[in-house]
Subunit: 244 residues, 2 copies
Amino acid sequence: MTGWVVIAGLGPGAAAMVTPEVTAALADATDIVGYIPYVARVAPRPGLTLHATDNRVELDRATHALQMAQSGQRVVVVSSGDPGVFAMASAIFEAVEAAPEFVDVDIRVLPGITAMLAAASAIGAPLGHDFCAINLSDNLKPWSLIERRLRLAAQADLAMAFYNPRSASRPDTFTHVLHTLRQECEPTRLISFARAVSTPDQQIITVTLAEAQPEMADMRTVVILGNSATRRVGRHVYTPRSVG
Amino acid sequence: MTGWVVIAGLGPGAAAMVTPEVTAALADATDIVGYIPYVARVAPRPGLTLHATDNRVELDRATHALQMAQSGQRVVVVSSGDPGVFAMASAIFEAVEAAPEFVDVDIRVLPGITAMLAAASAIGAPLGHDFCAINLSDNLKPWSLIERRLRLAAQADLAMAFYNPRSASRPDTFTHVLHTLRQECEPTRLISFARAVSTPDQQIITVTLAEAQPEMADMRTVVILGNSATRRVGRHVYTPRSVG
């Protein structure tokens, strides 16, 4: 029997945003691997083993998934959102690079609705023109690099989506982010905080950059800063397709 | 009867990448509005009117959708990929802004798998670290702005996804893009061309920036340039989560 690893995106939370190909992969799996709250989104059934692990053990989890596939198991590694955006796909490839015996494992990546797309849809169309996505977790990169990227992205007048804006272990990062953005952007720039998007807890707040407070973001929030043309129309916020 | 407009993303092409909430909206619609090849992806049925129009008439199409909703019809405006990424959502909000009588129309946006996410999944995980998305169509912005964004994004060491890299009406834009990128990035930087992703015609080519040719892109291609750490592992290309 030939095993495989599928790295699948479960989308931001709503079952109605899980793609049929991800649902089919889950139905065909023998093993599900992932962070506890994401594995909890997969229904148990006979013949399926759920391997839920804590955060911060991505490489161990990736190695375990690859080992099981080598033993003939059909393994789905689940991520929230899209697995290729600040999630498990890169961790799997890092594990393959570190242990070349895995290079022949059958690995496929199945895309999902990443948080910024679901958030943008709930807000209106703030990513309707050129934009960037920046992970504000400084576990994996120094603050100096985050700051440099913020300044250059602002100078390029890109809209920006921020993942992992704030956590208990680094409460000050997002304060520094707002401070940096206020140096680069006008105070009336619109910024939206989308929390628990697509779930029953969903909350969307849009304010100006001058009004933004660090406490508006938490671990479940994706933050979208508009570009210089982003504006309100009715109850929506959107960025026009053209410039000027 | 209360009408509505749903702006829905059909994903990059495969039926297995259409989310259940989009499928449900299509099933509930009285009218489908969109560009000819996207409307062609919706199955005809009694009670459903298909309004397929040519490209370049986005504002007329948006106004028509809003008018039908005001008359009580249930209208789905279809986009390829995600409707909020270089697609119809911004056009609908532009039409509302231009004609305030539409401000009370019930408008919802349903996200989809945008081309760069499907392309990245097929390539490996080239967007696993910070990245940007740039529309290379210069119908809606001057080349000088595109060039400025390319240079700043390269200086920020962002991976880059390029939409609409090349069309018959502007065959030279992508030549200028490659020229600009070669001035900013090392010649060994990896660049992937993902054509007709998720369809039977899918083709993925990864080369170095030095080897890239304008003809590798066409209207159906999304192009992904790695950051300075992007590399091959086995048959995949990925960007590590951490820096250095």
